[in-house]
């Protein structure tokens, strides 16, 4: 029968974890990458104007619902809510947590007209960071990602290269100019997007992050 360890992320077949990691005698790379697979992702639909909905979310998740366009709440690496549209959010948590999150939300939002859909399997996450991370994104994304316009905690649904992504900036160090992004990509596009990033990053040097 199918054992849990046979589960495969969209980029598993590339064996990224087997590549030489950062700091292993490689020249300094401007770009660090990793796949962050199997994150729990729940699409939440509801009315941001309904106080009961906002309170229910906060009660269930312990973090508030971001109602400002293109923003996120919560902490990277922990439970987060990403704004997707005026009535649409993506709750993101660690692997294998979706059922628990959905059950908490279901309890807290009972009697409200909402939709909760487990879409954990729909997307994988490519983490992109480094001093040249923003420039790599600039090659394929027409959104203004300059620190004055886009910073940590901001999220945007956009095109990267020719693929649709959900781009979430998680970090920025003004001193070094280094930025970090979580790029959520539909699994069918993951290999294309990975190839695109590798290609765009080539001139800056690319290293795997553990």
């Amino acid at each position: 029968m199918v054992k849990p360890f046979l589960r495969q992320s969209p980029l598993a077949h590339l064996h990224l974890e087997a590549r030489r990691p950062l700091g292993d005698g490689l020249p300094e790379a401007g770009i660090h990458v990793a796949e962050r697979p199997h994150r729990s992702q729940i699409a939440v639909r509801g009315q941001a104007t309904d106080p009961a909905f906002l309170q229910g979310i906060e009660k269930a998740l312990g973090i508030s619902l971001p109602t400002e366009a293109c923003t996120a709440s919560g902490k990277p690496g922990d439970l987060q809510v990403l704004w997707m549209g005026p009535d649409e959010w993506l709750v993101v948590g660690g692997p294998d947590n979706a059922a628990l999150i959905i059950s908490k939300l279901t309890t807290a939002l009972v009697d409200l007209q909402v939709a909760l859909v487990d879409v954990s399997e729909s997307r994988t996450v490519i983490e992109l960071s480094g001093k040249q991370a923003r420039v790599v994104l600039d090659k394929g994304c027409s959104i203004d990602l300059h620190p004055r316009s886009f910073g940590p905690g901001q999220v945007v649904n956009t095109l990267l290269g020719r693929g649709h992504v959900l781009l979430h900036q998680t970090d920025h160090e003004p001193a070094s100019g280094s930025s970090a992004y979580d790029i959520y990509v539909h699994r069918s596009y993951a290999e294309y997007l990975w190839s695109w990033i590798e290609d765009a990053a080539r001139e800056y040097g690319l290293a795997m992050r553990s």
Binding site: R7, D118, S122, R123, G140, C141, S142, R162, E191, R202
Partner: protein, 1001 residues
């Protein structure tokens, strides 16, 4: 060849860095900092090519983007580039270039015979001559193109890479000359995000070619200080070798950056980069281009723009001739005369069309001992491959002719200046207007639709001091308008103001005979368009400058008439008797300002990155299994899986037989899946689909048909009720996104009162479709919590449970007419389950099948494919699907059935076709006629929509849309094909198991 024209000192070239290159196979040397053009002049090359139409010998005439003659073929083989301006090619070690448009070479060109027949080749010659008979054009064209063509396009893929970059800024400054650099400094100091783009290898623009001073020191000091200040500003980006080639709405600009030379192993970077710039403000400091004086035989090699001659001297340390005449209508060209004299050029004299020029510069020239012949014009030029002398005569009172004796001046260089035209191209690209400044004979940028301003020489400010002032003001102003108001108070740099007297504008200079009868007055050097051509066009009735342009081809060459258009427009005005040339107007400036390599537009969207390949979780299994792929949108779907030695037909037949006799497995993950939730979900489906959904029991599935408002079939699929207020819709693979968009459109714009949410879950699930009599046995091995018997798990129902210990949704639905189970598991388990099914399935004859077998199997059952049996003109009734149209409720598209056209008796209807010869497989798309006769026209009554060989039936089958098809069942129809006519019997469209026993079994 030695650099005979190189000065011992001076210029911005680096004499310590010699570079080797070849031109037409001849080895030459230049220096770092040279362009190909400056190096060619240094090496004494006078002739660089032949003209387009008459194949007249031509030499370098400019020093920048306005060059019309010096086009070369750069490099050879895969890296070759055609029609490159020698003036814009930075010299690099090993460069190789050849002349174009001449054979066997520029010194002896066979096509030069054209110039003997020039009287036979007036404006519109090709239109007039080769258009009759029209059918013969295809024969003429071949020879005309061969005779006239410019460079040679590469035949092989370009090995160089190109990429693209998106950037946003507060202020984009176009041009890094005095005004542009000043603007960038002023804007950058406010903290605004500034991009300064300049087409040349160094900042400075025209300053690089002048001996100008700023703050009493050579301008190069100010340039260096400015550049270094910009480099220290964090949010200022300076891009050299970068041409802003197009300016579009919403302050969007396109820039082409050249990053490496056209060399093998150009480096890790891309050769060129296309920048997409979105700016809040645009400052256009693109400078000005000098225009030539238009006189008889003004195209001879050695006739050059005066500013260019000066640039070659001052910037490149190159003397463009050893014996020079300057021919001008303005003061500026005197700078060239003085510089030539200083460089030791002999016999320098100035022919001025003005009477007694008296400005500061003419006075300086006279003091330097330069002869000035005033109120005169050049009436003729001798020397075909190189100027040998000019003939000069005095202008008559109204400059319509010449008088007095002719004087001859021996010379090998004629430096001409007709004044300068502001470069308003970008301003015009983005919809900006221009007004004609009659006194100076030039167009000035006027109203614009964009947040932009033309400044400096691009705005007709030709004094350096004005350019500096204008630049600082415009930079501050642009930054302030973009929200950066902090302006530092600094002392602005200044330059001496030179008093320049007005020019005397004479658009076409007279000679001893009427224009056209002695020599040629060239307007457009690259397309060989003369004053006589434009005058002829006017006589023939052309009034519009746009029509005249197309008729004469004025300005339609690769240089887009940068030097010839304004004089050409003025000549047209004169010929039409229009007093103000501004009333004739300019032709439209269009992007790109200078040519852009197509590779830059493609960027990295080439090869494997040309278009995303969407992959299912099982993609790499299919690949290893050696499947052939079918593209469905961006998805790759397995088409069929040939075994060693199998043809496509063999493989598809094998897969089809396995699906009906054993068990076969299809990857159906690509089908669209939409999760629909909300208290009004059933009502929403009632409106979207043609049939009724309220009564569907939980756990049951129903086939639905979706129409557009026009009643035409849009999509179909099976939707399942997961809960009271919860449905899962499936769509066709290709329409998944369109259907979701369609649902959202109706929810958001027409039915906002419906409480429904739609979410795409296509990517969340891997879908494995087991099909065939053994499907149940195989699946039973993988589940212990679902009863798979026909009674417990009937056709069109769904169960949730585990398959192979994985949580799964299993649907008993079928697109093959066979007992089928569509197993949906979380996508990341798809590959593991697929593999395990094959480990266990061998004993049942498990066979993977692809889309081709799927298509055959569904055609055997007469199931339609949207997009194959439908084409946007097909209503459900045409498909015999009246049964799915609810009469009890409204639905999208229903009202269109009231149109008389929907009720036409002769509409095309879906039928089956069985060919008389059972082995004959019809071609899809083939036309169908009712009568087998041989005297066209024969009315077409329909076409074949699907056609296959059916291994299960042992014969061919086809589906077709045929006019009144259902009334023709039993009739014979004919399908005429090349060399034969195929007969077929019209049947109902179901070929196998019409009772559905297999389906429900």
């Amino acid at each position: 060849m030695s650099q005979i024209n190189r000065l011992a000192h001076g210029g911005r070239i680096d004499r310590s860095k010699p570079l080797h290159f070849t031109f037409n196979g001849q080895a030459m040397r230049g220096y770092a900092g040279d362009t190909l053009a400056s190096a060619l002049i240094a090496n004494g090359v006078r002739l660089v090519g032949r003209s387009f139409k008459y194949h007249r010998p031509r030499g370098i005439m400019a020093a920048g983007a306005e060059e019309a003659n010096a086009l070369v073929q750069l490099e050879s083989g895969r890296r070759t580039l055609a029609n490159q301006q020698a003036t814009r090619i930075e010299l690099y070690e090993g460069l190789s270039a050849t002349s174009i448009n001449c054979w066997p070479g520029p010194n002896f060109d066979l096509m030069a015979v054209n110039s003997w027949f020039h009287r036979l080749m007036p404006a519109g010659f090709y239109y007039k001559t080769f258009m009759w008979p029209a059918a013969a054009w295809k024969y003429y064209e071949h020879f005309i193109r061969r005779a006239a063509g410019l460079g040679v396009s590469p035949k092989l893929p370009d090995p160089d890479q190109y990429d693209q970059m998106n950037v946003h800024c507060d202020v984009l400054v176009v041009g890094g000359g005095a005004a542009g650099l000043a603007a960038a400094l002023a804007a950058g100091r406010t903290g605004a995000r500034v991009i300064l783009a300049d087409e040349q290898a160094e900042l400075g623009g025209q300053l690089l070619g002048e001996q100008a001073e700023i703050n009493g020191k050579p301008a190069s000091h100010w340039l260096a200080a400015g550049e270094s200040e910009l480099a220290g500003l964090a949010d200022v980006t300076v891009l050299k070798r970068t041409t802003v080639f197009g300016y579009y709405d919403h302050n969007f600009a396109g820039m082409l950056e050249t990053r490496t030379a056209k060399l093998p192993n150009g480096g890790a970077t891309t050769r060129q980069r296309l920048w997409h710039v979105r700016a809040k403000r645009v400052v256009i400091a693109a400078g000005a281009l000098e225009r030539p004086l238009i006189f008889s035989d003004n195209d001879r090699p050695g006739v050059m723009l005066a500013g260019a001659v000066r640039t070659y001297l001052n910037r490149y340390g190159v003397r463009a001739g050893s014996n020079a005449v300057v021919f001008t209508n303005n003061d500026d060209a005197y700078r060239t005369a003085i510089a030539l004299k200083d460089a030791g050029v002999k016999g320098v004299c100035v022919i001025d069309t003005r009477l007694a020029p008296h400005g500061e510069l003419p006075t300086q020239a006279l003091q330097a001992g330069i002869a000035v012949i005033d109120n005169s014009t050049i009436t003729g030029v001798t020397g075909k491959r190189r100027v040998q002398s000019v003939e000069v005569m005095t202008l008559n009172a109204d400059a319509s002719g010449v008088i007095g004796p002719a004087r001859t001046f021996p010379c090998d260089l004629v430096a001409t200046s007709g004044g300068w035209n502001p470069v308003i191209h970008l301003h015009s690209h983005a919809g900006g207007k221009a007004t004609f400044d009659e006194a100076r004979g030039l167009f000035i940028a006027a109203d614009t639709l964009q947040a932009s301003a033309c400044i400096g020489a691009a705005n007709g400010e030709f004094q350096l001091n004005d350019c500096l002032k204008d630049g600082f003001r415009a930079g501050r102003d642009a930054a302030a308008k973009a929200g950066f108001k902090k302006a530092s108070r600094r002392k602005l740099p200044t330059a001496a103001v030179v008093d320049e007297a007005p020019a005397r504008i004479i658009w076409a200079l007279p000679t001893t005979k009427p224009i056209g009868q002695r020599g040629k007055h060239f307007l457009d050097l690259q397309h060989d368009v003369t004053v006589a051509d434009v005058q002829l066009a006017a006589r023939e009735g052309y009034r519009s400058v746009e029509h005249t342009k197309r008729y004469t081809t004025l300005g339609m060459a690769t240089d887009q008439g940068k030097t010839g258009n304004i004089p050409g427009m003025a000549v047209l005005a004169q010929a039409l008797g229009v007093a103000n040339p501004g009333d004739v107007g300019t032709t439209t400036f269009r992007p790109p300002y200078t040519p852009v390599t197509l590779g830059a537009f493609a960027g990295r969207n080439v090869g494997p990155l040309a278009d995303p390949v969407r992959m299912t979780p099982m993609h790499h299994w299919h690949e290893l299994a050696g499947c052939k792929w079918e593209d469905v949108g961006q998805w790759k779907r397995p088409w069929y899986y040939p075994k060693d030695g199998e043809s496509m037909a063999d493989a598809v037949n094998r897969e089809c037989l396995a699906a009906r006799n054993a068990v076969a497995l299809l990857d159906a993950s690509t089908l669209g899946k939409i999760d629909i939730q909300g208290p009004d979900a059933a009502e929403f489906l009632n409106r979207i689909y043609t049939n009724a959904w309220s009564g569907l029991a939980i756990g049951r599935c129903r086939y639905g048909l979706m129409l557009k408002e026009d009643g035409m079939v849009f999509d179909d699929g099976v939707t399942t009720r997961l809960g009271e207020n919860h449905f899962l819709m499936t769509t066709t693979t290709g329409n998944a996104a369109a259907v979701l968009g369609w649902l959202e459109e109706w929810l958001q714009t027409e039915w906002p009162e419906l409480k429904v949410y739609c979410n795409s879950v296509t990517e969340a699930w891997a879908t494995l479709t087991l099909c065939g009599p053994n499907a149940r046995h195989l699946l039973a091995e993988f589940t212990d919590d679902m009863d798979l018997s026909a009674d417990a798990f009937p056709f069109m129902s769904m169960q949730e449970g585990t398959v192979g210990d994985i949580p799964a949704r299993v649907f008993r639905i079928s697109f093959t007419g066979e007992s089928s189970f569509e197993v949906n598991v979380p996508a990341s388990y798809g590959l593991a389950l697929w593999t395990q099914l094959f480990n266990a399935g061998e004993k049942y004859g498990l066979t993977p099948y692809g889309t081709e077998a799927m298509h055959v199997l569904r055609a055997e059952k007469g199931y339609i494919i949207v997009g194959q049996e439908t084409d946007g003109t097909v209503i459900p009734q045409d498909l015999g699907m009246q049964w799915i149209l609810s009469k009890k409720k409204d639905f999208l598209g229903r009202r269109s059935f009231a149109r008389p056209d929907s009720a036409r008796g002769d509409r095309k209807q879906l039928v089956g076709l069985l060919t008389g010869d059972p082995d004959m497989v019809l071609e899809e798309g083939a036309q169908i006629v009712a009568e087998n006769r041989n005297n066209p026209p024969i009315p077409m009554i329909g076409h074949v929509t699907s056609s296959y060989y059916s291994a299960n039936l042992g014969r061919s089958i086809a589906l077709a849309l045929v006019s009144s098809g259902r009334d023709r069942v039993g009739d014979t129809v004919y399908i005429p094909m090349p060399g034969k006519v195929i007969s077929a019997e019209v049947t109902t469209p179901v070929f196998i198991d019409p009772q559905g026993e297999r389906l429900h079994g």
